[in-house]
């Protein structure tokens, strides 16, 4: 079975995405940050990782980079919340989501997707990447 690991610091998102992937017939595990996600892949392996981009600890870009280095065949989808993220006193252009997504793609993410997205949109992308 195609194994998907979902990494997001928001529990609601982890739970709902897990449910969706289970219903779509995937084998799903969840992690609440990048390190936990990486350990999970090391333990059980993964065909596809879906990670949020802004998280405490190691963020989505870092996580995507580490996964790509360690597991070159694992597919990666990076999700963004859109807008300017993080504390509002950040330089708006420095932390622009688009710049984030671009850097995630640059370090090896196979796809980026902007929240909120449709259920079908996500499942379609996952199937395309994994051939499931």
């Amino acid at each position: 079975m195609t194994r998907v690991i979902i990494i997001d610091d928001e529990e609601d998102i982890r739970v709902v995405l897990k449910e969706i992937f289970i219903r779509a017939g995937f084998d799903v595990a969840v992690a609440s940050d990048g390190n936990e996600g990486l350990n999970l892949i090391r333990e059980t392996g993964a065909d596809l990782v879906i990670t949020d981009i802004i998280m405490p600890g190691s963020d989505g870009v870092e996580t995507a980079y580490d996964i790509r280095m360690e597991f070159p065949s694992t597919k990666i989808i990076v999700m963004s919340g859109g807008g300017n993220t993080g504390p509002v006193d950040y330089e708006p252009s420095a932390i622009a989501t688009n710049a984030y997504l671009a850097s995630a793609e640059a370090v090896g993410a196979d796809m980026t997707i902007t929240k909120p997205f449709d259920r079908e949109e996500l499942i379609k992308a996952a199937r395309e990447l994994t051939g499931h």
Binding site: I13, G82, P87
Partner: protein, 481 residues
């Protein structure tokens, strides 16, 4: 000057008169004394008196010769009178000891002589009048000279003051004018006196220097005031931009959190709908939740459009007229046919480096706002787009623009217009004059974000009850053919 004369001249003339009178009197008295002595001596020879007949003859000749007016010779008790005189005249003798005594105009003198044992006295009277007349005439002469001198002096003074004072007074008048702030009049005083001419030249030089300094200072003040006004304007603009940027950042942050909430709502609802039987009474409710969540998603996207920073890839479009056409056909579909939409677009229009979707959103939002401002029946919206040359003169009126070629998109309506407080806030996100729920307050802030991204500018002119005109300036790019 005249005052000195007024004191000196009387003193001088008084002194001169005194000298003249004393000299005349001295001459007179010396003369009569010597004459009397010589006369007395003449009446005796070798210690013998002349005989009475001869004495009377001598007395007569003295009076007839005009030497004296009175002549009496007394020897002992014997008085010899000039035959021309009578007894009455002889009574008048009272010896004078100085000129003019007794007010009788006659100077009486007694010359005693001793002949042997006999005492005799020659009494003579001399007319004082000629001497008095001489003194009087001398006084007249002196007074005349003094008067002439005075008149000449006064005339000279008037003449001199005409030549010296009047140019000086004119200089003074002109200086006063300068002191009171009127620098413009040239100082020119014509005078034959070198010093006055030089003084005039110096003052004129000072004046023209002052005028120069003044003009420079005024220019400096004016340019400083202008710079200050421009700085204030730029500052206001910068503050406004800063506020918008902060709000944009904030909005972006809010959108991020919002999306993280919205995503599970959408997905959970989707899952719940999937689980429900088709005839479940909860289904329409969940569908409604899904619909509302999707509306919230649209709102979030709008916030992001505003908050999105520039720097996204834009492409150069040599002609954006078709892009605008498409936007306007969308506008026509959105706005009721009762509103008259007049369109005038220059063809081709551009080239413009832009995001066509955003350009369309800009036009749609502006038109939608124009439509919403129209409350009366005969609504009219005019949309025009053209290439526009921003000249240095135009930059003075619109300091945020730079000299060069722009695409100017104008949307004008005859709606209700805005007051200045509304204009100040019209681009603020979430600011809306419409009722809660009727507008997001994002339409114009999205326009602002798009214009800023395209390095353009917006000018708004509006009048309450008359309408609003919004000009959007987007800089054209130079494309090598």
């Amino acid at each position: 000057m005249l005052a000195i004369h007024a004191v000196l001249l009387p003193l001088l003339s008084f002194g001169m008169l005194t000298v003249v009178r004393n000299v005349q009197q001295e001459i007179f008295t010396d003369h009569v004394r010597i004459y009397s002595r010589v006369f007395a001596d003449m009446l005796q020879s070798n210690g013998q008196l002349a005989d009475d007949e001869r004495i009377v003859e001598a007395l007569d000749s003295s009076i007839l010769g005009g030497r004296s007016v009175y002549a009496v010779f007394q020897v002992g008790n014997r008085r010899l009178l000039s035959s021309i005189m009578n007894e009455y005249d002889a009574e008048k003798f009272v010896e004078d000891f100085s000129f003019g005594e007794h007010g009788d105009d006659v100077y009486y003198l007694a010359a005693p002589l001793v002949v042997g044992n006999t005492m005799a006295v020659l009494e003579l009277g001399f007319d004082e009048v000629p001497t008095l007349l001489a003194i009087q005439s001398a006084r007249r002469t002196i007074l005349t000279i003094v008067m002439v001198y005075l008149i000449v002096t006064v005339l000279l003074a008037v003449l001199v003051s005409d030549r010296v004072s009047s140019p000086l007074q004119r200089l003074r008048r002109d200086s006063h004018k300068i002191a009171s702030g009127d620098y413009t009049r040239k100082m020119s005083v014509d005078s034959e006196i070198n010093e006055i001419r030089e003084l005039t030249d110096d003052l004129e030089h000072m004046r023209s220097t002052l005028v120069g300094i003044n003009a420079r200072l005024e220019g400096e003040i004016a340019s400083r005031e202008k710079a200050e006004a421009e700085r204030r304007k730029a500052e206001t603009h910068l503050r406004h931009m800063h506020r918008l940027q902060s709000i944009g950042t904030l909005a972006g942050g809010v959108a991020h959190e919002f999306n993280n909430v919205l995503l599970p709502i959408l997905l959970y609802t989707d899952l719940a709908l999937e689980d429900l039987p088709d005839d479940s009474p909860s289904r329409p409710n969940l569908e409604r939740i899904l619909k509302l969540a999707n509306r919230a998603k649209g709102l979030s996207e709008q916030i992001l459009t505003f908050g999105r920073p520039s720097g996204e890839a834009m492409e150069v479009h040599s002609n954006v007229a078709p892009v605008l056409d498409e936007a306007l056909s969308m506008v026509r579909a959105l706005i009721p046919a009762s509103i008259d939409i007049q369109v005038e677009i220059q063809r081709p229009l551009g080239p413009l480096e832009c995001d066509p979707n955003e350009l369309q959103q800009l036009v749609v939002n502006l038109c939608s706002n124009a439509y919403k401002a129209i409350k009366k029946g005969d609504g009219r919206i005019q949309v025009s787009a053209e290439s526009f040359d921003v000249t240095p003169d135009y930059v003075k009126k619109h300091p945020r623009l730079e000299v060069g070629r722009y695409v100017r998109v104008t949307v004008a309506d005859n709606g209700e217009g805005m007051d200045s407080a509304t204009i100040d806030r019209m681009f603020d996100p979430f600011f809306s004059t419409r009722d809660v729920g009727k507008g997001t307050g994002l339409g114009l802030s999205v326009v602002h974000g798009i214009v800023a991204k395209h390095s353009g500018d917006i000018a708004v002119s509006s009048e309450v009850e008359i309408g609003t005109t919004i000009d959007v300036y987007l800089p054209q790019v130079e494309v090598s053919e």
